[in-house]
Point group: C2
Chain length 194, copies 2
């Protein structure tokens, strides 16, 4: 029996630990390909083109938007970020699975274009816990934390559009659950083609 490629989307509020979970999944899961974003921002020290991001110019990015070449895209401050459709599509077509880590707005954009993906919402144990994490990591000012908190409350409302929720109260347990979702989805009858 052959299997269709599956798009797994790991998403959730800022600071919830979705990046850490993604990295653990990539290490511990066989045969899953990370989707690499394109951006117009300049590479930071140590960042590699085609590995961390595809670093492209604004003109090229705009052309890709016009050609509907993104699964999703967004402007963050002055820079553009997007998920190129072509790579993802090709991998899925070849029966390969793709992992995409993305914020909630991005995930909802992706879902509107590719509803058959598997959407996993990483949730904080509570809003209070998320605030405490953002304060502890010390990268964020009081004002930025207030904004994020307000955003988070709003973002939690979008959980209902996802297929799964993984509560990140314990990182190991959360990674185990996310891995189980990947294993289970790979056993779904609907994903077999013959």
């Amino acid at each position: 029996m052959n299997r269709k490629g599956i798009l797994f989307v790991i998403s959730g509020p800022s600071g919830v630990g979705k990046g850490t979970i993604k990295s653990a999944l990539l290490k511990e899961t066989k045969d899953i390909h990370l989707s690499i974003s394109a951006t117009t921002r300049l590479p930071r020290e140590g960042e590699i083109d085609g590995k961390d991001y595809y670093f492209i110019g604004k003109n090229k990015f705009q052309k890709m938007i016009d050609n509907n070449d993104f699964l999703e895209w967004a402007k963050v401050y002055k820079n553009l970020y997007g998920t190129p459709l072509k790579n993802v599509k090709e991998k899925l077509k070849n029966g390969q699975d793709v992992l995409l880590e993305i914020d909630i707005q991005g995930a909802l954009q992706v879902k509107s274009k590719y509803p058959q993906g598997v959407y996993i919402f990483i949730s904080p144990p509570s809003i209070e816990e998320l605030v405490s994490r953002l304060c502890t990591r010390g990268q964020d000012s009081q004002e930025s934390i207030s904004i994020r908190l307000a955003n988070c409350k709003e973002e939690m409302e979008h959980m209902k559009y996802y297929n799964y929720v993984v509560i990140n109260d314990n990182l190991n347990e959360a990674v185990k659950k996310a891995k189980a979702i990947i294993v289970a989805e790979r056993c779904k009858i609907d994903n077999f083609t013959a």
Copy 2:
């Protein structure tokens, strides 16, 4: 967030190893309750009423059929076997998960009454492999194996009515996959009530 109870149905052709997988799941999975069947046959040595089966008389069984008290029932040789609805319903209502191991005809009956259950088809790696297993276990005559083989081919056609397929080519791997399905289903957004 509270969660609804989930009915997990482990099923598949005769001789595929679903009983072994069920036993491993019960040992290794927290908070799952095995559904116990009722039967009109007499207890064998060592069998305990209410643990191995509910041993009941034919009159009582017939009354339960008439009252629609079974999730499924079947006549096997001269004996009646069935899954009492009441216990399963109560556990699910209380948010507890229930595990039911059953043949394919039974699983399809259950699905018609409870489509929101999770139906897991345990598949042999191939029909040839299943024949070889039935021959090796030595409990079955040549004729009985031929009948089972024909049944199996027909039964494989029913795989499409299930949610998941777990190919039992390696028992440990098959148990891991079945466990992953349970973990994943417990993370499904649709199973949360608030």
